[in-house]
């Protein structure tokens, strides 16, 4: 059976490549968070977020990083927020009940979403302020986690992608692509979360935290990983399909099967022949000029 061989090169792939990428992230971290802070400052007023863009220093092991965040606060949900929340939650759940067939996975996702939001609705209906988390701490927490992910994800890529028979540049490229993608995604994600929580009150925070925080990052990783794993390589696993061919789509029931006719079975001329090219060009020219039968 086909497989791979253990070589010393694998040690390089598993440790050297992610180490280089991870060290690069740490070296570039200050410019990266500076860019995030500039981005936040640029979008703050267009999004209608009050306050300023503040920065707090967080220590991550031997390193310290000044994480930017919006200083604006999120308010405790008022009656109108709660009523809107109930309406959206119940509607989402009700819609999911009518989803059948191909939409069933989406229906299940909507029900799960409704369940998480239901917990938020109940909590904010019966609890009293203050909530344990504020918008600034939430946003900073998301970005601190993002920084940790940026530093560690090259190792995850190494242990799930670099173990295969890809070329060295491909292994570097996928790790760099994932890191690069997250560098852009993380501030966008934080801004969207902050804007929604600011506008829709703290009522939206549990849903965002549980379903659109880490899960989104995980999706990005799996999607890029899946794309990378579909690349060609020069190794033993880069083979043609060793599996039996997929059965062709079934012909629709109730429709008459076409019978071969002389026109449908005529030989197709070799397009490389000069004569056939000339005929093809002449046919195209005639059709362009409005001659000949298009039917």
């Amino acid at each position: 059976m086909i497989g791979l061989e253990l070589t010393w090169g694998l040690a390089v792939d598993l440790f050297a490549i992610p180490l280089i990428l991870s060290v690069s992230v740490w070296i570039l971290l200050d410019p990266i968070v500076d860019a995030w802070a500039m981005f936040f400052a640029a979008v703050q007023h267009p999004l209608g977020m009050p306050g300023t863009v503040n920065r707090s220093v967080y220590e991550l092991g031997p390193f310290a990083v000044a994480i930017p965040y919006f200083s604006s606060a999120a308010h405790w949900p008022e009656a109108i927020d709660l009523q809107s929340g109930w309406l959206v939650t119940v509607s989402t759940f009700a819609i999911s009940l009518f989803m059948r067939g191909r939409l069933l996975p989406l229906a299940y996702f909507l029900r799960f979403l409704s369940f998480i939001q239901l917990t938020a609705q109940l909590w904010f209906t019966f609890a009293s302020p203050p909530f344990s988390y504020g918008l600034p701490t939430y946003m900073a927490g998301l970005l601190v986690f993002g920084v940790v992910v940026l530093a560690l994800i090259p190792f995850l890529a190494a242990f799930t992608f670099n173990i295969f028979d890809f070329r060295l540049w491909q292994k570097f490229l996928l790790g760099a692509l994932i890191v690069g993608h997250l560098v852009v995604l993380l501030p966008l994600q934080a801004v969207v979360h902050a804007w929604i929580i600011h506008r829709a009150s703290l009522l939206s925070m549990p849903l965002l935290f549980l379903l659109f925080g880490v899960l989104l990052i995980l999706f990005v990783y799996v999607a890029l990983y899946g794309w990378g794993m579909s690349w060609r390589s020069d190794g033993p696993l880069d083979a043609i399909d060793r599996r039996p061919p997929v059965t062709p789509p079934r012909y629709p029931e109730g429709r008459a099967r076409p019978t071969p006719t002389p026109s449908s079975t005529r030989a197709i001329p070799d397009p490389g022949l000069r004569m056939s090219r000339a005929f093809a060009f002449q046919g195209l020219l005639f059709r362009r000029l409005g001659f000949g039968d298009r039917s």
């Binding site: 497989g3 059948r100 299940y108 996702f109 242990f159 999706f219 794993m229 079934r250």
Partner: protein, 426 residues
């Protein structure tokens, strides 16, 4: 409130520990499949003194698919004078019985249908009844929608030359991959489950699972462990565990491919996975204690793998408990536990589905040479979500945990267009 928080905190750590064990297991299997030495006993034996063989094909309302299966079996290269094909009609209400009679008339020496009109319904009961009419030592079992390759019978019989082998399992490959999103996802799941998971368990001498659909059993071994368990919804898992506990080897042959029709609709898939979950949970309830305290002193690694195999359909409930703990801790005012949530989510992605993690599926697809299908990987989340709900509902049902024969049997729907008549093989 403090007690609830404490319980949630401890509960979450326990859940994470369970999920991490499964994730590490998947990763270890992937590495073994990629870099390890592969065990394929007697796979290339072509000439031998082949034993007399009975192939059972249990069928209940299988008129759409049974012709393809019988035709394929008739073209296998097993010596014709030592092969008997026994399709078992278990009270079909469609044309299955007429088709079997037609084939029996065409091939009287090779096809001998067993027609059931009474008795306990279900595959295990049907097999037990049909087996009583035959004396052969080795028999194979195929589902009615399975289409074996030409060499498959020899490949599945060859491991029985080793007297310690009690059961053999071949690989299942979906035939209708391109039909829908679901069939594509199931193709990826099957690929990960067989190409990597089963083969790694075979390599490591753990517990390869006899799947009951494209495999064989030695009569002596079956009788030694007490025959078919007709009370079980997953008679294959049940038999696997009993064979392992009794000291018999179970062999998986990765190159012995058989082609099946996977569910094309989510509703059909949910019914299928609920049935599997109920059967697995029954086996977990019945054999967990025996696995830990087995008299034959199985290697601890085999015991661990057996327990993890049995517990695989309990994982979604563990996962659900983990989510509940996370929600409680979040509202209780713990600092946002990003790291724990990460582990929970990554593990969620890795442990459910057909229990193949995303890297395992990707590895299997590359080994199969179907690298472009790996781009479907993010959509596995949909399959995971549906499986979790389905398994959860099945786990909470009565059939999962109570003793006795289950009251319901959900047959997997067939989608293939039925053929009018046999092509007239000679």
């Amino acid at each position: 409130m403090e007690t609830i928080v404490r319980i949630a905190d401890v509960g979450l750590w326990v859940v994470l520990a369970v999920l991490v064990v499964y994730t590490v297991r998947h990763y270890f299997f992937t590495l073994n499949r990629l870099f390890g030495r592969h065990r394929q006993p007697f796979i290339d034996v072509v000439e031998a003194n082949w034993p007399s063989l009975v192939v059972f094909v249990p069928a209940h309302n299988e008129a759409r698919v049974i012709r393809d299966s019988l035709d394929a079996l008739l073209t296998c290269d097993y010596p014709a004078d030592r092969l008997v094909i026994v399709p078992i009609d278990d009270r079909s209400q469609d044309e299955t019985r007429e088709i079997l009679r037609e084939y029996a008339a065409l091939y009287p020496d090779r096809i001998r249908p067993h027609l059931r009109d009474g008795g306990i319904p279900g595959k295990a009961a049907a097999l037990a009844e049909a087996m009583a009419d035959h004396e052969e030592e080795v028999f194979l079992v195929f589902d009615a929608d399975y289409i074996p390759g030409e060499r498959l019978l020899k490949q599945l019989v060859a491991p029985f030359f080793d007297a310690e082998v009690g059961a053999v399992m071949g690989r299942v490959v979906p035939l209708n991959v391109g039909t829908s999103l679901l069939t594509r996802l199931l193709d990826l799941e099957r690929s990960g489950g067989y190409q990597v998971d089963q083969q790694a368990r075979m390599n490591l001498r753990l517990v390869p699972q006899y799947g009951g659909t494209v495999g064989g059993v030695r009569r002596t071994a079956l009788e030694h462990v007490g025959g078919w368990n007709i009370d079980s919804l997953a008679e294959d898992t049940d038999l696997t565990v009993r064979l392992v506990l009794a000291g018999w080897d179970v062999v998986y042959q990765n190159r012995s491919e058989c082609y099946e029709e996977v569910p094309e609709t989510w509703e059909s898939r949910i019914r299928q996975i609920k049935r599997w979950a109920k059967g697995h949970n029954q086996a977990l309830r019945s054999y967990l204690f025996s696995m830990f305290f087995n008299r034959r002193r199985l290697p601890w690694i085999q015991v661990l793998d057996g327990v993890l195999l049995l517990g695989v359909f309990a994982v979604p409930m563990v996962l659900a408990f983990g989510w509940m703990c996370t929600i409680v801790l979040f509202y209780a005012g713990y600092p946002p536990q990003w790291s724990k949530v990460t582990i929970l989510l990554v593990s969620s992605f890795n442990t459910v589905g057909n229990f193949a993690s995303f890297f395992q599926i990707a590895a299997a697809s590359r080994l199969d040479g179907t690298r472009e299908r790996i781009r479907m990987l993010p959509f596995m989340f949909l399959g995971f979500l549906v499986s979790t709900f389905a398994v959860g509902r099945a786990t909470l049902s009565r059939a999962s945990w109570l003793r006795g024969r289950p009251l319901d049997w959900e047959k997997t729907e067939r989608h293939r267009e039925g053929r009018a008549s046999s092509p007239g093989l000679s």
